[in-house]
Symmetry: C2
Subunit: 236 residues, 2 copies
């Protein structure tokens, strides 16, 4: 076990042991290093690792603090590693996205707020306008697509689902998805699918919302490469 691992484990114990909670401030580097029996360099490596994981937050001139430990914060590091994957492993990731977003859509049908429903309506109208003009503003449509899915996932009310979907279907993954999608009419079909999801949400019909969202994401999934190519699960 390396010194850095001891630091990570030591801080973990301080949190799970109740000594440190969200928002609390850690001892200064010198003291904490001495307490854990490591040099300042090793301490900093461990603290930095926990910072990348979203557990700690260091502010120069101020101190080091425990973050809110929200799922959204803690899952953000996941997005980084997901983005490292190439197109070949996009399908299993997207299958997870489909399952989670389908569940979220079903949940959202019963608990979506009028404001969120109206916001989703606005996003869909904006997307429709981008499709109506020539030439089509593809980045704008992708942006609207992302926003619509984000709203639905968030209205599911499960912060873990929201965070996971954000990590798996974040900006990089989304751009890669649309980049491989040059099929004619794909955007128009996406728009129709979204409209169907929206109607189900507006009607409070959970089953319809699930089916519509699942069908939409299955459509998307079929455009992805079926099997990891001959190459191993490599970054592209």
């Amino acid at each position: 076990m390396s010194r850095t691992d001891e630091v990570v484990d030591g801080v973990r114990r301080m949190i799970t042991g109740g000594e440190l909670g969200p928002g609390d401030r850690l001892p200064v580097e010198k003291d904490l290093a001495e307490r854990l029996g490591v040099s300042r360099g090793s301490l900093r490596e461990g603290v930095r690792a926990l910072t990348v994981l979203g557990v700690l937050d260091t502010r120069q001139g101020d101190g080091t603090y425990v973050t809110s430990l929200d799922p959204a914060r803690l899952m953000s590091s996941l997005q980084f590693v997901v983005d490292l994957h190439g197109d070949t492993s996009a399908r299993p990731f997207h299958a997870v996205r489909r399952v989670l977003e389908t569940e979220a859509a079903g949940l959202a049908a019963h608990r979506i707020t009028p404001e969120a429903l109206e916001q989703a309506r606005t996003v869909l109208d904006q997307a429709a306008r981008t499709l109506a003009q020539q030439p089509v503003d593809h980045p704008a449509f992708i942006e609207a697509d992302t926003e619509f899915h984000r709203i639905v996932a968030d209205q599911g009310g499960n912060p873990v689902i929201t965070a996971l979907v954000e990590a798996i279907a974040g900006r990089t993954a989304r751009e890669r998805l649309w980049r491989g999608l040059h099929e004619e009419g794909a955007e128009a079909r996406t728009q129709r699918d979204h409209e169907a999801v929206w109607r189900a949400l507006a009607a409070g019909d959970a089953e319809a919302a699930r089916v519509r969202m699942a069908a939409h994401l299955l459509d998307v999934e079929e455009t992805l490469p079926l099997v990891p190519a001959d190459a191993p699960d490599a970054a592209e």
Copy 2:
């Protein structure tokens, strides 16, 4: 943007840019630090962070290598942050577990291997024996429970689902789950639920496998605290 962030981003670019792939070796610390324009200390902090994330692997006396980058490796860091959460946020995490394992069970019904089916049978028989003796060997039953779910999740064939379930329903989470479950007959009911799932898998009935697994996990879920307590989403 800190020096460490530059290191993380620089290595990310080297991977996504194709310069580095799984198993490849990075330049030695001195060279890489010079190339990225940072000191060795800052370089080490960045490399260490990527090591914790499961992207890099450093071996003393040998060198630093890119890992396989498979989902299982990259999700392992997720388990750490999930375990940081207290009992209060167990429910949303378990809901995700339920959705994913339900999907995996459905997939497994069509593709489970005879060997895996037999292995699951053996685990269930072992669990039955632990329940038959007095006093009941609770740790052994928990172990069998975990193993059964692991087999089913793995046989779903989606490595991302397997890795996520492992991270969310790993050892710490599982122990915490059973610790709060002192209800009489809970283990016997779990055993019956598992048997039902096994029969569905053996029959190749995907729908039955989904329903049985979902019902089982819903049962478990109802034993969890309903709403985050008055306290914020704190570590316990």
